[in-house]
Symmetry: C2
Subunit: 206 residues, 2 copies
C-alpha cells in the first residue's frame, strides 16, 4: 500500500472513527451512515466520506456502511487487527495507572512489561507485572521484539530513556512526559500532555 | 481580539511552542530562532513564523526571538498568564494520577477539587484533596466558578457526567474516557485516549 500518500491528519482521525464504530457495535447497531458517524465524532459527513475513500469503497450510496465490515477494514488499515505488546517505562502515578489500565483490551494493545530505574520500585508488583530494572530494558525489549513503548518518566529523563528505547528497536513511543523528544526518522512519537490539551481550550475561554 | 479568525490547528500548536520555550528558558537561554524552536518541536521554521505572525510581530529578522518576551506573549494569547482552577472527576487510577500530578505547576492550572460517585472513595484523601461526592459536584463547581474539568470516569458514565459539568458552568473538558462526548456549542473538549495515539502510530509500522 502506498502509505506515504495519505496525509497523517487523516490517519489521526481513523482511530476516532474506529472508537465510535465499536461503540455503535457494542450498542447492537449493524449499519451506520457518514452523517450518524459524523455526529458521534464531531466531524462532517463529507470529511468522513473523503477520509474513508482514500482506502477504497466501504459503503454504498443510500445504504450506508456495514459497521462490522468498516470496523474490520479500519482495524486492518491501522494494523490493529492483531495485538501489539507494549512496554511501559516509569512507574510513577501515571505509569501505575497505565499498567493497570483496562482500556487497551480489544483495541490492539497489551502491556507486556514495565520498567523503572528506582531501586525501591524494581521488583514491586504493579497490576499483573513485576517492575523490571531499566538497565535490563534494552535486552528485554529486544528479546521480546517489542516495538511500542509508553514513556511515563519525568521530563528530565525522557530523552535519554527514549534514546535507549530506540536503540532497543522501539519504533513508536507514546510520550506522557511534558517534553518534546528528538527521535530518528522511522520512529514515531505521539504526545499525551494534559497541559497542552488544557491550554488549547483556555484560548477560547474569556 | 478576533479569535474566530485563527484556525484551531494553529492554536493547537501554541502550547507545544510554549512548552519548548519554557524548556529553553529553564536551560538558561535568552534568545531563540524559528529554526531552533522548529528543531525542538519537529515543525518547520516557516510554519512557526507563519503561526506566530497571526498574533503580531514577535521577533526581528536576523536577531530572532527574546524567549522571555515570546513566553509572556504566548501565555497571554492562550490565557494562561493566570491560574485556572480545575475539577477532576473520577478517582480511579487515572484520576488519582491526575490529582497528584505536578506537571500543571506554573503552566496555568491548579487542581482545586476532586469527585467520585463511589461511596468507598468519597471522603478518601488523594494527594492534597478529599474526594467529594459527585452529587455535590454541580453546586461546588458553580460556587467556586470553576470552568475547566478533567474527566477520568469510565466510558459508560462519561456523557452523563459531562452533561452535569456543562450544567454546572464548565466550558472546557479534558476527557480521559475513551468515548466521544456531545456537548453544546461554546463548550470545548479535548481527548486524551492513549489507544488513539497508539493506533495512529501502528499504521506506520510493518
Amino acid at each position: 500500500m502506498a502509505k506515504k500518500e495519505i496525509p497523517d491528519i487523516i490517519i489521526g482521525r481513523l482511530p476516532v472513527y474506529l472508537r465510535a464504530l465499536r461503540h455503535m457495535e457494542a450498542q447492537g447497531k449493524h449499519t451506520t451512515s457518514s452523517q450518524e458517524l459524523g455526529e458521534q465524532v464531531g466531524i462532517s459527513a463529507a470529511q468522513i466520506r473523503k477520509d474513508l475513500s482514500q482506502f477504497g469503497e466501504f459503503g454504498k450510496q443510500g445504504t450506508g456502511y456495514s459497521i462490522a465490515f468498516l470496523v474490520a477494514k479500519v482495524r486492518e488499515i491501522l494494523n490493529v487487527d492483531k495485538v501489539w505488546e507494549v512496554a511501559v517505562v516509569g512507574m510513577g502515578d501515571m505509569g501505575h495507572a497505565i499498567a493497570r489500565y483496562q482500556g487497551f483490551h480489544d483495541r490492539g494493545f497489551r502491556v507486556a512489561m514495565v520498567f523503572d530505574s528506582d531501586p525501591t520500585k524494581i521488583g514491586e508488583q504493579v497490576g499483573k507485572f513485576t517492575v523490571q530494572d531499566t538497565k535490563e530494558m534494552g535486552v528485554a525489549i529486544r528479546k521480546a521484539g517489542i516495538r511500542i513503548a509508553m514513556l511515563c518518566v519525568p521530563a528530565a529523563a525522557a530523552q535519554q530513556v527514549a534514546n535507549q528505547l530506540v536503540e532497543a528497536g522501539v519504533k513508536a513511543i507514546l510520550n506522557y512526559a511534558p517534553i518534546n523528544l528528538n527521535v530518528p526518522r522511522g520512529v514515531w512519537v505521539q504526545y499525551l500532555d494534559p497541559t497542552v490539551g488544557l491550554q488549547r481550550m483556555t484560548y477560547y475561554l474569556d
